[in-house]
Each structure stands twice: as C-alpha cells, then as structure tokens.
C-alpha cells in the first residue's frame, strides 16, 4: 500500500472560507441549508413516485406517513423507522434509532462552525470525513427535504424538522400544514 501523505498538497485544495461578519455568515449558512433542503425535496418528490407506483391510493395522512416509515425508509435507508408517534393533531414524530446517514458523523468539538479545519491530516479515519467542516445538524438538512418532498407528493403538505438525540439516533418531526 502506498504511503498516505499526511497533508493535502498545496494548491487547489479546499480554500479557506471567506471572512464574513457573524450575521452574514449565519445568513449564508441559512441560504445554503435552504438550497440543500430544496435539493432533498426534489429528490424525495421524484423518488417516492417510483416507490409508490404500484401502491393503492393513500386516503389519510397516517397511511402516507406509514408508507414513508416503511417502504420509503427501506428504499433509502435500508431499514424501517423504529418508532412512529402522533398527537392526532397533525404532528408525527418519526424516530430512527440508528439513522444510517449519521453513522459516520460526529460532533467536532474543536472547531467552530465554518472553521477551515484540517483535512487529510486525520489519516485513514473514515469518520474524519467531516474534518471540522459542518456539524451533525447539517447532515439532516437534506433528509428533512427528502421526507418533506416524499410526503408532499403523497398529498401531505408538511414541514419537517429533525433533532439529533445522541449517537446516530434521529427524530424527524412532521408537522402537517392546513387541514
């Protein structure tokens, strides 16, 4: 096995982020999240059509949510949602105890958000992939869009947020809009 260089060679690797005031940086981050969620929405919207093509019409929000918890989750995350709770007033909480896309992500205590971070210096650690860039919360933005896009396509207009609860456990809250 060839030696792994311990530093990224000079030149075209990861330029440092531009210096922004905290307010501008927050606005830029929010805009980035909005776009990322939009891409997720777009994917969910189209993907669910492929999964639901042979399914019967889903008459209630609950049926659509259940479809997402089972079939859609199976297709995308290779497992089912572990716990589904609802308050019967349009709020559904989907808990995945081992959310696949957080399996190799952890909080990087040493770096501030948006910090440049040392990339490549972490050797063969696959988990070093986030290398000081971004926080675990950033990794659930896309899935939130994905779920929202899928549900909307199934006739459930909703807003989706996520909360990471230690390890790779993740709770997605689906708030149905209107009635």
């Amino acid at each position: 096995v060839p030696p792994v260089p311990s530093a990224v060679p000079d030149g075209n690797a990861l330029p440092p982020p531009p210096l922004l005031s905290p307010a501008d940086a927050a606005a830029a981050a929010a805009e980035t999240r909005r776009r990322l969620e939009g891409v997720g929405y777009d994917v969910g919207h189209r993907l669910v059509e492929r999964y639901a093509v042979e399914k019967e019409r889903m008459d209630s929000d609950l049926e659509a949510v259940k479809f997402v918890c089972r079939d859609f989750w199976e297709g995308v995350f290779k497992k089912h949602v572990d716990v589904l709770r609802t308050n019967h007033k349009g709020l559904y909480v989907l808990t995945d105890n081992k959310f696949r896309w957080l399996g190799r992500v952890w909080a990087d205590e040493d770096s501030e958000e948006g910090g440049a971070g040392a990339v490549g210096a972490d050797g063969a650690e696959v988990g070093g992939a986030i290398g000081g860039r971004g926080k675990p919360e950033d990794y659930v933005v896309f899935p939130c869009g994905l779920i929202c896009g899928a549900l909307t396509r199934l006739g459930v207009r909703c807003r989706v947020t996520a909360e990471i609860a230690g390890g790779a456990q993740c709770k997605f809250s689906v708030q149905v809009i209107g009635g």
Binding site: P5, P9, G38, R50, V76
Partner: protein, 186 residues
C-alpha cells in the same frame, strides 16, 4: 497482477462496500447538478464546480480505498490506470472501466465505460450542451491520485449524454509529487 485478478479484486471490494440505492444516487446527483446550473448559469463554471466537489471527495475517498480494496502497490503509472479502472471504479461506482488509448509517452490514458450510474435517468437539454454532466468523476480521480503522490489532469472527452456511444475520461500524469513531512511533525 493480471487484469483478470484485478477484476476479481474489484468485484470483492464492491461486495464489501456499503451500498446505496442506485435510484437515490442518480436522482440526488441529478438534483445537485440542476441546483448548480440554477446557481451558476454557466456550463464551464458548473463543470469546474463539479470537478471541485469531486476533488474534495477524492482526497477522502482514497483512504477508504486504501483501507478496504486490498489493491496491490503500483509499480508504474500503467498499474495505477488498471487499478483505477478495474478496482476503484468497480468498488465505488459498481461498474468497471476499460483502459486504452495510451499516448506514446505513456503518460496519458483513457478510461472508457458505457454504463454510468450517475446519468441513469438523465437527458441533457440542448441549452446545457457544454456541461460534462459526470465531471465529478474527474475531480474524484484527481483528488484521489494526488493523495498518492500523482498530480494528474482528468477530463471528459466523450459522454453518452452528448449522444456518443460511450464515456471517456482522459487522464494525464503531470508530475509525481515529492512526499513532504507534515508541517508540525515532531
């Protein structure tokens, strides 16, 4: 190592790798490209952004490759070409590539493949004829090889989305980098 046994190595590495739904990959990649087209509105700029994304993926992905592929060390650039084509392409993309069209100085070769999982559902509108849709792959190759001391240039020259019957990436070795100790190494 013979090409046949490299292919076997690629198959084995592919079997061991965690899989993601091909539909999810194709749709997600497509949506990202579409977002880039909206954001940058310029084919050249989108190609550059895709290559940059790929570069950042490549510099990290190479660790995974070295850790899991069991690929033998490369004694020559020709070995590198075969390993990228037979092992790395298969391991990460699920499809192997062919190596061909070596230049006379043996510093440039082509990676040729027909099936492209990234472009599964894609049609390129005429307006975006200048986009190399799968340009992320060029970046990945460049980033990954740079981590093993080879500075290369990688660029698409043919793409099935442009109506050609196969995909071709030209890879040129620019220089072999000298290994430098890390700045704060004891």
């Amino acid at each position: 190592m013979s090409k046949a046994s490299l292919s076997k190595l690629g198959d084995a590495a592919f079997e061991r790798t965690d899989k993601v739904s091909a539909e999810l990959l194709a749709l997600t990649y497509g949506s990202f490209v579409r977002q880039l087209l909206i954001d940058y509105e310029d084919a050249e700029e989108v190609n550059a952004q895709l290559a940059k994304m790929g570069y950042n993926i490549g510099v990290r992905l190479v660790d995974d490759f070295l850790a899991k592929s069991n690929a033998p060390p490369c004694a020559s650039f020709a070995d590198t070409a075969d390993i990228v084509a037979k092992v790395a392409f298969k391991m990460f993309l699920g499809v192997p590539a062919l190596v061909g069209s070596w230049s006379s100085d043996r510093r440039t070769f082509s990676l040729v493949f027909t099936d492209n999982p990234l472009a599964e559902f894609t049609e390129l509108p005429e307006k975006w004829g200048g986009v190399w849709y799968s340009n992320v792959l060029c970046g990945v190759i460049k980033g990954a090889l740079e981590m093993v001391q080879m500075e290369v240039d990688a660029r698409f020259v043919r793409c099935t989305l442009r109506g050609e019957d196969l995909n071709e990436i030209r890879v040129t070795l620019l220089q072999v980098l000298q290994e430098k100790p890390p700045v704060d190494d004891e």
